[in-house]
């Protein structure tokens, strides 16, 4: 078990390293001169001499690997560079935006869990009954509806027409419900289906038959046997949906003018603020890798077959 974790951790490190390399390479090959970008973003049109000087200062004339090395060292030191558009250290910008996006993502996750679990389980238990068809249709709608469209429609209905929620994010609860719902609805559709499938698969396995043959109540079978067994798959899918969720924040934040990482990244893209862009990608992949790693570890610990591997009686 220990060996497993150290191996896994090593893998995580390699992957993060690779991710950083990829990110840097992408910026490196992308068109546009960062030095110039820095001036242009302030609507200053620099002269060639000034540019050359700045390039030299920024180390842009160094060979690729040297640049990458420096960048990586700075990154490890926590220096993520300087954001042109925000005219400040990237780390400071991230510090401001991260909590907002996390707030949004957490509320969306809450919705996701609160809705998809009961729906998925119900749908599986009542397979091919009316209620199953209804839930499946709803989830089909969920996965087919474009989030950006849905968001706008919700905005119109609930903000303009009903005045239930607010458009600005400062208002705590009233501000976060709509964006979080927009973010969650497609995921709820997806996840409900996946939970249903996972549970159905478990229901068809032998041990369920075994439990029935032993005369155990159906509700007990579902909650004591099927759910714990399908949890592994469900948790893994959950980790995957976090990736989708993080991606969704960009669109949702744009629609709802949510001052988080999503709007920040769109702004960074428009202004070619590469340091910010790099930091964002690194940060997101770090979060994502850590979540996957945690989930996988939880799964490993949950599953006695893995946990007690080799301990035969």
């Amino acid at each position: 078990m220990k060996l497993y974790f150290s191996k896994k951790l090593l893998q995580v490190i390699i992957v993060i390293f690779g991710a950083s390399f990829l990110t840097f390479t992408l910026t490196y090959i992308s068109p546009g001169d960062p030095a110039e970008m820095m001036f242009r973003s302030q609507d200053v049109v620099p002269s060639e001499a000034v540019l050359e000087k700045t390039r030299e200062e920024m180390g842009l004339n160094n060979p690729f690997l040297v640049q990458y090395g420096n960048w990586l060292i700075n990154l490890l030191k926590g220096d993520l560079g300087y954001s042109y558009i925000n005219k400040g250290p990237v780390a400071d910008v991230l510090k401001q935006k991260i909590p907002k996006t996390i707030e949004l993502a957490l509320v969306a996750l809450l919705f996701l869990v609160v809705f998809s679990f009961p729906l998925g389980i119900l749908s599986a238990i009542k397979k091919n009954k009316i209620i199953d068809y209804i839930i499946r249709s709803i989830s089909l709608i969920g996965i087919s509806i474009p989030a950006f469209w849905l968001g706008l429609l919700l905005l119109y209905q609930f903000v303009v027409k009903f005045h239930w929620f607010t458009i600005t994010s400062q208002d705590g609860f009233r501000g976060v419900i709509l964006p979080a719902a927009t973010l969650a609805i497609p995921l709820i559709g997806r996840y409900t289906r996946q939970i249903r499938a996972a549970i159905l698969e478990e229901l068809s396995s032998d041990y369920v038959m075994g439990a029935r043959a032993r005369g155990i109540k159906e509700s007990k079978i579902i909650f004591n046997h099927v759910l714990p067994n399908s949890l592994k798959g469900i948790i893994t899918l959950f980790a995957l949906s976090i990736g989708v969720l993080l991606g969704g924040t960009v669109i949702v934040e744009t629609i709802f003018s949510w001052p988080g990482m999503g709007t920040m990244i769109m702004n960074a893209i428009t202004n070619r603020d590469y340091p910010l862009l790099q930091a964002y990608v690194i940060f997101m992949s770090f979060i994502y890798i850590m979540i996957s790693f945690t989930v996988e570890s939880i799964n490993q610990i949950l599953d006695p077959r893995v946990r007690l591997k080799g301990e035969m009686i």
Partner: protein, 490 residues
Amino acid sequence: NQNQPTDAGKTKTLNAATYWMSDDAEPTKGWNGWVVARFGAGENLVQLDENMRFKEVIAESWKQIDELTTVFTIREGIKFHNGNPVDAKACKESIERALEITDREDVKLPIDSITAEGQKLTIKTSQIFPTLINLLADPVYIIVDASADDGDNFAFQPICTGPFQITEYQPDVGLKLKKNENYWKCDVDVDTIDVKLIADTSARAMALQSGEVDFATALNRKDLGLFEGNEEYVVQRGPNLRVAFLAFNMKKPYMQNLEFRQALTYGIDKKTYAKELYDATMAKGPFNESLSFGYKGEDYYSYDPDKARELLDKVGFVDTDGDGIREMNGKNIVLQFATLSHFGRDAANTGVAMQSQYKEIGLGLEITQYENLSEIADSDKVDIIWDRWTSAPTADPQYLFETAYKTGSPANRGNYSNKEFDAVCEELKTTFGKGERDKLGIKGSEILMKDAGVVFLFYLEGSVVTRSNVEGIHRFVSDIYHIDERVKMK
């Protein structure tokens, strides 16, 4: 989050929406001063009022003593937000601070000396500088208490003299202001202002509708219809100082041909664009007709496809292969129309409209949205550039001429160059007297129009929408100011 009732003792909060915020509120940096000015936090010695006339603010009066020297009398009894008195010395320090910090070339003053005696501030320039007053009205020169600059928090809560004081500044969320109890001019009615950053235009309209804000500016033209005629809202709209124009890329050899440029101009139905696409006033020259230096005569080369065809035939660009597109040196003419994506849809829409109209005169057009100016500036890729500029933020023609059209100037994206026009710019540098300067402004405009190097499309419109419980908010033509001491809430 509705407004508090106006009963005595309760605070009156004005909820406002803004479409743009700078990273901080240090007025001397870039255009950051606009945010400080907009919500009544900072004041200058002199300012432009809603109708673009100079008004004395911190300076009670000013007087030009000779070509190089101007004397300002600082009003008695003005205090900074922190209670420090405002005298000539404080103003001197503030102006010097601005000169030191600002990185904007267009607001630099050629200062010889600034002297302060009591309430008397004397500014001596090192050369003849007719636009001194105009520049001093720029938010860069908002008078701040330079002695209070602790290098840290000052950028977010600058100490100025306005009717409101910034108490909280979050670049991506909004800002909060409170009433300045010691405001020099009058007692301020509103206690606090809560400004929310809502960058999306339609979202601002929705925020007004949902009651989250009482005041918003720069709404979508179409969305204004939602408020006009509705008793709950007051809408003020009208042209502002921004002008949208097309610059032909003079680097291209064929663009050097005046007749070709004229043909291109004849092919643009800007009257319709202005009316139908933008609900705006069609532009003739660079300056709005309401400005004293605005061109008021007939437009040159207004839409006439037949003339365009005739001219194109004349310069020899004809369609020989019958595909409906004229050729130049045997190749179909497909002009490249470029905009910057941050100009938004309006810019691209012009291209879309031109595309179908140019087709009728046998010209192809492709539209590309660029992210960066740099990609346009140095490339031969583009033929026509959509651009937008605030024409006279300081109520003077010189600024626009110098930045956008003078030979070699930094924002001259079409690489336009005309000796006659450059001469007008030079003359403006040394000419005093509003009348004279206005004439030069008109002269320059006419040169530009006649030469067809730049096609002025329309003047953008500004709009201000307030809930009917708010009074005393005016629409400033300059768009620099929104709220001042006159604001009141019922």
